[in-house]
């Protein structure tokens, strides 16, 4: 292993690898990525694979402008990667639907849609039931309407993470798997080197992109990072002819969302139809530390929730072939943590991407790469600074 690199990135998930990718695009290739296990083996490779571009989870404050810019940029990039890289990433700009169960929920979304229009996202719109059932004839007939986001899409995340790793290696970036960072040395208020079992690498910049392990990397330099794993549980159906064609989210996913306590565990429903014909059913989020097993309760609660929105799952008695859990990298205010850290030159954090990691993904990497290369990012990221928690 080399003794020195300009940038050492800890973590080969979406945040770390896209940062490396855009650094390479800017011509900075003296970059090493350290990965404790394998590329994309945690949240980035096992999430619900929705790339919504503009998510209700962005909230309504000034920071949502930046998140919209990152999200729209990310989707354009995913489409470009899919078309140009020579890998079938199963990216599809299929549009997505936020289902409003009642008239009340439908009305509540109007102010949100108005705000997004003012922010320049003009194609987002509320649709009434006639149009909804034209788009999705197999939904529960009592649904009142939906918010339609035509720019949203989905991508096969595990293929994407592997392809991204391949592209980085082709461009000369070195990625070391099964190589954890075990210590970070500092000198005179700036980072000096990263220690691994395979040797020590001197670095000008150290990027903490370690996902749920970001707090333990922070501890190595005495920096507290408020990140908790929020377990998201998913079931996969057998392959079947398509009964739904858009990723769906329940409006109660967002209205019941307690942004300080994570996603509401019993009402938040999402699903994603896959290219092969499986449907990914998502629900039951909770905080259980680093236990990434799926709970027995999820096996009952997720199908119940899913068949409330898609009754055919029940009437056709669809089979469940697989259940698994994933971690959202949760922060106290459900916003990412991005940027430099006061008091330690050269140390950069990118993480806490919560339930919008893939959606923001490439946009986040671009911002951090620009921060390193130019000293500032073209999209304002000051809202996401770690110092907001002090």
């Amino acid at each position: 292993m080399e003794k020195e690199a300009e940038v050492v990135i800890i973590g080969a998930g979406i945040a770390g690898l896209t940062t490396a990718y855009y650094l390479a695009q800017l011509g900075k290739k003296d970059v090493v990525v350290l990965e404790k296990r394998e590329i994309g083996c945690m949240a980035s490779g096992t999430n619900a694979a929705l790339v919504s571009a503009v998510s209700p989870a962005y909230g309504t404050g000034p920071e949502s402008d930046s998140m919209i810019k990152m999200g729209l940029f990310a989707n354009d990039e995913y489409e470009r990667f899919h078309n140009q890289w020579g890998y079938d990433l199963e990216f599809e700009r299929c549009g997505s639907l936020v289902l409003t169960e009642t008239e009340e929920l439908f009305e509540k979304r109007k102010s949100y849609v108005d705000l997004r229009h003012k922010q320049g996202v003009t194609s987002i719109r509320l649709i009434h039931r006639d149009e909804l059932f034209e788009l999705e004839p197999n939904l529960a007939p009592d649904l009142y309407g939906a918010e339609f986001r035509p720019f949203a899409g989905h991508i096969m995340v595990m293929y994407f993470m592997c392809a991204l790793g391949d592209k980085l290696r082709e461009s000369g970036i070195r990625i070391y798997e099964y190589t954890p960072a075990i210590a970070i040395k500092t000198e005179g208020g700036r980072v000096k080197s990263v220690v691994t079992p395979q040797g020590e690498i001197k670095a000008k910049y150290v990027v903490n992109a370690a996902g749920i392990a970001a707090p333990s990397i922070g501890e190595m330099v005495g920096i507290k990072i408020p990140i908790d794993p929020n377990r998201e549980q998913m079931l996969v159906t057998e392959e079947m002819p398509r009964i739904i064609s858009h990723p769906l989210l329940s409006a109660s996913y967002f209205t019941d969302l307690d942004r300080t306590g994570g996603v509401n565990e019993t009402k938040a429903f999402a699903c994603n139809p896959q290219k092969k014909g499986n449907i990914l059913l998502v629900g039951v989020n909770d905080f259980v530390g680093e236990d990434r097993r799926i709970s027995l309760r999820a096996f009952y609660a997720v199908p119940e929730l899913a068949s409330r929105y898609i009754p055919m799952l029940k009437t056709q008695n669809v089979h469940i072939i697989r259940g698994y859990a994933n971690f959202y990298v949760h922060t106290p205010d459900s916003m990412p943590i991005m940027g430099k850290v006061d008091g330690l030159e050269g140390f950069i954090i990118v993480g806490g991407l919560c339930d919008i990691g893939m959606t923001l993904g490439a946009g986040v990497g671009k911002c951090i790469a620009e921060l390193i290369y130019y000293g500032e990012s073209s999209i304002p990221i000051q809202y996401f600074s770690l110092s907001r928690f002090n």
Binding site: E38, F299, Y300, E304, S307
Partner: protein, 89 residues
């Protein structure tokens, strides 16, 4: 084995595709899975996992016991949704 034979029959992944994943750097079942979706179909790897381990071993020279098997995911067999929580409430 002919190279176009299905190794993972559920997901219809051929020997060629598995070998391509190994040549791209996959050294574990999960890594092959992430590149090809082998082991992710109806049988969840029960028929193809061992074949893939052998292919990794043949191609890389790694001893079979050193090759990480896949993460086990429940339910072991496909379960109809009515046996779970599919009731309308």
């Amino acid at each position: 084995m002919t190279e176009d034979a299905y190794i993972c029959r559920c997901e219809e992944i051929t020997g060629d595709e598995i070998m391509a994943a190994i040549r791209q750097g996959a050294r574990s079942i999960d890594a092959v899975k992430r590149r090809t979706s082998a082991c992710m179909g109806l049988c969840q790897g029960r028929s193809c996992e061992r074949l893939i381990v052998r292919l990794i071993s043949q191609e890389t020279g790694l001893p079979i016991p050193d090759i990480a098997l896949m993460t086990r995911r429940p339910p072991v067999r496909p379960i109809p949704i009515s046996a779970l929580g599919g009731e309308r409430t």
